[in-house]
């Protein structure tokens, strides 16, 4: 019984996962070593790690990552903030919601990457068209989730606030914003992940720099190990974003102990 308990504790601490990954890497490494796997398609982990190290030391990886991060950040600010504000307003006013929602419903499903060519015709092939598409991507999830977040606030909370004499500012800061915060964070997570996805996609087709461009260049020159390195870096960014947002959620929404975003 006791042993059993300890075994489950072992899993909980995540060591088992680490062990499995480690075994997987060893099998991979050995597989290449005995020519069971092609080193062109599957360069051994040791080579990938060495390349990773090299690309960090010569700044190349960090430069590309920095540019992608900057695009994600700009897109999130330029698209996410208006999405958040409009979401709060639409959630609060049923009339405005009925007025605007058809436009949102019509434009939201368009894959943003598909309109990149159109945007490039309008804004040119420079940085602004890339950021515009990323911003557009970040705009919708925050808008939709924020509006839904406001709409699910119980009517009673508005009545209590009104009963105690809350003015419009107080209703926004003490009821509407905190009440919708759990769903705002869900929207933020979706916006951030989609912004990263679309940044990479935009860079794949039309950029000289950034992780997407690095992936594309590595493919064109058949430097598979660099391809893996940039893919790992992209995955790391995604993991980092989600980890960061989870920490933020625990801090910002302590009243939803079951909060999982």
């Amino acid at each position: 019984m006791k042993k059993n308990h300890r075994f489950f504790g072992f899993i909980r601490e995540g060591w088992l996962t680490v062990l499995i990954i480690f075994l997987f890497l060893i099998v991979w490494e050995l597989g290449v070593f005995i020519d069971w796997l092609s080193s062109l398609f599957f360069p051994p982990p040791s080579v990938i790690i060495a390349t990773f190290n090299k690309l960090i030391l010569n700044q190349k990886l960090l430069d590309h990552t920095g540019i992608t991060l900057w695009r994600v950040f700009l897109g999130l600010i330029l698209g996410g903030v208006p999405g958040l504000i409009l979401g709060l307003i639409l959630g609060w006013s049923p009339r405005l919601y009925r007025l605007i929602n058809p436009f949102v419903a019509a434009t939201h499903p368009i894959p943003k990457i598909a309109i990149l060519p159109l945007i490039m015709i309008i804004f040119g092939i420079g940085e602004s068209s890339k950021v515009f598409v990323i911003a557009l991507t970040a705009f919708f999830p925050l808008l939709i989730n924020t509006a839904a977040g406001v709409q699910q606030i119980s009517q009673i909370h508005f009545e209590v606030a009104k009963n105690y004499g809350a003015n419009l500012t107080k209703i926004f800061t003490r009821v509407i914003f905190p009440g919708s915060l759990p769903l705002i964070l869900t929207g933020l997570r979706l916006s951030l992940n989609l912004a990263l996805l679309v940044s990479i996609a935009v860079e794949l087709v039309s950029a000289q720099k950034g992780l997407g461009a690095m992936i594309w260049l590595a493919w064109q020159t058949l430097r598979t190990e660099e391809l893996y390195v940039s893919l790992i870096m992209t995955a790391l960014l995604g993991i980092l974003f989600n980890y960061f947002l989870q920490r933020v959620a625990v801090y910002l929404v302590p009243w939803k102990s079951e909060q999982r975003i």
Binding site: I156, V160, Y164, W255
Partner: protein, 255 residues
């Protein structure tokens, strides 16, 4: 503060036509009086409270208050059955909410709120969130918030409706104790006849929808009241009497 409802009526407009919820409510609430309102479900009790609170406007009639609004203090404070607390605020912030809306600074409103939190026995929970409290504790927070706000009229909408019998009894006694220390005019809506007789100075019995007041019953049991009050012959007689009225009303509403 006292107030008077004159010929108060409320009609709700819905997609399926108009629904009269209240008709011709007439009563006068005296200063520091504890009034209980009982009535068959759906008779418009909650609507009446919302009219007094100013959350709804009456279709007909008017409410006259003896005092004008002063200094941002709302005339009345509502205590809801459940979900009345803000889940995103701690107990302290919930209780201090009315003061915050009046523009009081953090320290001042917290200092004013703390004694009331102690009074309802939640000193150890000031920094907890409502979801960490039991139903009974949450209702205590709601009561503390209403008393802190310093409104002269307390409007309570079945505040103990979802509590178990023991918790309910304890909270009723606590409410009476706090009310005796800080007497306000209380309008207490309930479907529990015994509760109405136990708490009130007067019980208003409402008819089925559209509700109006069918009978006013003055209650004169000595205060402080306790469990033995519920065994007095008069108590049992009044309970039977109100039961009979309500039964008739429920039958009527079923047509």
């Amino acid at each position: 503060m006292n107030f008077e409802c004159r010929d108060l009526g409320k009609v709700f407009q819905t997609r399926n036509g108009s629904i009269p919820a209240l008709g011709d409510i007439k009563f006068h609430a005296r200063d520091k009086e504890f009034i209980c309102i009982v009535g068959p479900s759906g008779c418009g009790k909650t609507t009446l409270l919302k009219l007094i609170a100013g959350l709804l406007n009456p279709t007909t009639g008017q409410i006259f208050f003896s005092q004008d609004l002063q200094d941002g203090i709302s005339r009345s404070a509502l205590v809801f059955q459940e979900h009345g607390l803000f889940p995103w605020m701690t107990v302290l912030d919930n209780v201090a909410f009315g003061l915050e809306m009046r523009g009081k600074g953090k320290k001042e409103r917290w200092d004013l709120a703390r004694p009331f939190i102690e009074k309802v026995g939640l000193k150890a929970f000031v920094n907890n969130y409502p979801h960490e409290l039991s139903m009974g504790m949450r209702q205590r927070v709601g009561i503390a918030r209403a008393f802190v706000s310093n409104s002269q009229i307390l409007l309570m909408d079945e505040p103990f409706g979802s509590l178990d019998a023991q918790t309910k009894l304890i909270l009723q006694e606590e409410l009476l104790k706090i009310w005796r220390e800080d007497q306000k005019c209380v309008i207490y809506v309930t479907h529990d006849i015994e509760e109405a007789l136990f708490l009130g100075d007067r019980v208003l019995v409402m008819t089925a929808r559209p509700g109006h007041i069918r009978e006013e019953i003055p209650i004169s049991f000595n205060r402080p009241r306790d469990l033995s009050t519920k065994e007095l012959p008069d108590f049992i007689k009044m309970k039977g009497h109100i039961w009979k009225i309500l039964k008739e009303e429920v039958r009527k509403s079923r047509g």
